[in-house]
């Protein structure tokens, strides 16, 4: 076969399909509490007693249903963190910090943004958003019942 580089044709295509996911009974309750009362609830496993956040209707370790809603503070500690400086299709505008946050009263970590501080220079940002930093939720005024009802968690020491 003759190989001339300029002869390779490219065919454009798109795969952009809207979906509507089911949150289910458990997450729906969790989101209603966030939306209406700015409250965060974990759920306790009746067997191993751990408080799961985000809450799920069963404990996969014990394989039993969970029923006890437990209020969790909207404050906690950063357990791990990364700060993104790249822009990706359909994703939030950089820079943004992603953290796994252990909220007071929860036994697992919630993935969310840490914000409310200047992240533009990573050298400064990594000192503002550190493992061990205490953070508090900053809520949206207009809430829809979604994780983004919390805009981000803000370092408590930050003005």
């Amino acid at each position: 076969m003759a190989e001339k580089k300029e002869e390779f044709i490219k065919v454009k295509a798109n795969w952009n399909i809207p979906y509507t996911h089911s949150a289910g009974k458990c997450a729906s309750h969790f989101f209603q509490e966030m939306k209406e009362k700015k409250r965060i609830f974990g759920i306790r496993c009746p067997k191993c007693q751990r408080v799961m956040l985000p809450p799920r209707s069963f404990c996969e370790r014990c394989f039993v249903e969970t029923t006890d809603w437990v209020p969790v503070k909207d404050e906690g500690v950063v357990d791990s963190v990364s700060i993104n400086y790249m822009e990706y299709t359909g994703m939030p505008k950089p820079p943004y910090a992603i953290a796994f946050i252990k909220l007071d009263g929860s036994d697992s970590r919630l993935m969310h943004f840490v914000g409310g501080v200047d992240l533009s220079d990573w050298k400064k940002a990594k000192e503002l958003v550190k493992i061990g930093t205490r953070v508090k939720a900053v809520w949206k005024e207009e809430r829809e019942g979604r994780m983004t009802d919390i805009m981000y968690f803000k370092p408590i020491s930050a003005k």
Binding site: H21, S80, S82, I83, G90, K126
Partner: protein, 386 residues
């Protein structure tokens, strides 16, 4: 279970884009090379296991598209999709087919075109839960970056130690004609490259690659007849953790990999991994993951990987060569990458690794991970029967 050998391996050159070929044509290329290596004809392959991760190629089930290129029409055919683990899970599935006695000769084949999509991170973001987690903007890089920040915090690993991982990988890739990225880099180059997701910089992250590879498994009886120098499978393990990464005990420790590693070493009869294994091909698209994987598999103690890397323990001429192929950091056709690890492990123990041959390599380990730090697959191959 029966004893199984690998009697042929093949791979294409990996590049960002292979505009000279379609998905099925790339598959044909990879499969043809494995057949050539094994001196077999396609009619001798009894069963096929095909691995890919659909959304990267923008085709729903490219396994259907490429069946002709695999040479599988009219034969048994199973598709595997386990994220980054896919390639090695595909290998394990083909191994099981032969070990169980279901077939005497089976082929694992993987094709992936990460380069045809404009943005792999957006696709990777769809891996996480759409209800609770997707809005937080995490991609695969987030996995490596969170592990890095946590490992630095808990064990004091450094940017320099991670830079050395990149330097060693890039040097090794220079000797691998199939590797995608082939440039020599210094620790300074790595530490001055663009910040992607703190603490990871550009030269600490893998490229997006197009390519295919294939591995042929045979029963002991067939291997004796067909192949003068096979690679013998000593053991394998696969494992899955919870989907929920916020429930991992500590992101600095890859506990689920440790568990899989212990099962693997038991099956393969390995008592002292670093002494008994000559080559480890680890799936580490981000520098930080080499650190966690070395520790999780017991090639060094917890928190010791950084200092050991500084001492050169895992270089080509070190105590155990890590990623002589240049690894995932230099080549990442995601759903094929795990099988590329096995291809390299086989080339090393059969003495076919040419310029990157680790002298006297007799035992090699292949590893892959996938999902939200969720899945692992492992295989050990040896020059001799176990």
């Amino acid at each position: 279970m029966r004893r199984v050998a690998i009697i042929g391996v093949g791979q294409t050159k990996f590049r960002t884009r292979r505009d000279d070929a379609t998905h099925e044509e790339l598959t044909f290329e990879g499969v043809s090379r494995a057949l050539e290596d094994a001196a077999l004809s396609i009619s001798q392959i009894e069963s096929f296991v095909y691995g890919t991760m659909d959304p990267f190629d923008g085709v729903n089930s490219p396994d259907k598209w490429c069946v002709g290129g695999a040479g599988a029409v009219g034969k048994p055919y199973i598709k595997i999709s386990t994220g980054g683990t896919t390639g090695l899970t595909t290998g394990i599935a083909a191994y099981h087919q032969v070990a169980s006695g279901a077939f005497d000769i089976a082929m694992a084949v993987c094709t992936q075109r990460v380069g045809v999509g404009d943005d792999a991170q957006s696709i990777l973001n769809t891996c996480v839960c759409p209800i609770y987690e997707r809005d937080a903007g995490a991609g695969a890089i987030t996995v490596g970056a969170q592990q890095a920040s946590r490992h630095m915090f808990k064990y004091g690993s450094t940017d320099y130690q991670r830079a050395l991982v990149s330097v060693d990988a890039h040097k090794n890739a220079l000797n691998n004609p199939y590797a995608h990225i082939q440039v020599d880099v210094t620790p300074e180059d790595v530490m001055n490259s663009r910040m992607i997701e703190w603490p990871l910089r550009l030269l600490e992250c893998c490229p997006r690659s197009d390519g295919a590879c294939a591995v042929i498994f045979a029963s002991e009886e067939q291997a004796k007849k067909l192949c003068p120098k096979p690679a013998w499978v000593w053991g394998e393990a696969s494992i899955i953790d919870s989907y929920w990464w916020g429930e991992r005990p500590d992101l600095a420790d890859w506990d689920i990999l440790s568990l899989a590693g212990r099962r693997l070493f038991k099956m393969a009869g390995i008592e002292n991994p670093i002494k008994e294994i000559d080559v480890a091909e680890l799936y580490a698209p981000f520098t930080s993951q080499t650190l966690l994987e070395l520790e999780a598999l017991g090639f060094c103690g917890k928190g010791e990987s950084g200092p050991q890397i500084e001492k050169g323990v895992f270089k080509m001429d070190g105590e155990m060569a890590v990623n002589p192929s240049g690894g995932v950091l230099c080549t990442n056709p995601i759903g094929a990458t795990g099988l590329v690890r096995l291809v390299e492990a086989c080339l090393q123990v059969t003495g076919k690794a040419e310029k990157r041959q680790v002298p006297d390599a007799e035992v090699a380990l292949a590893h892959a991970w996938g999902g939200t730090m969720q899945l692992h697959a492992l295989m050990i191959v040896g020059k001799h029967k176990r």
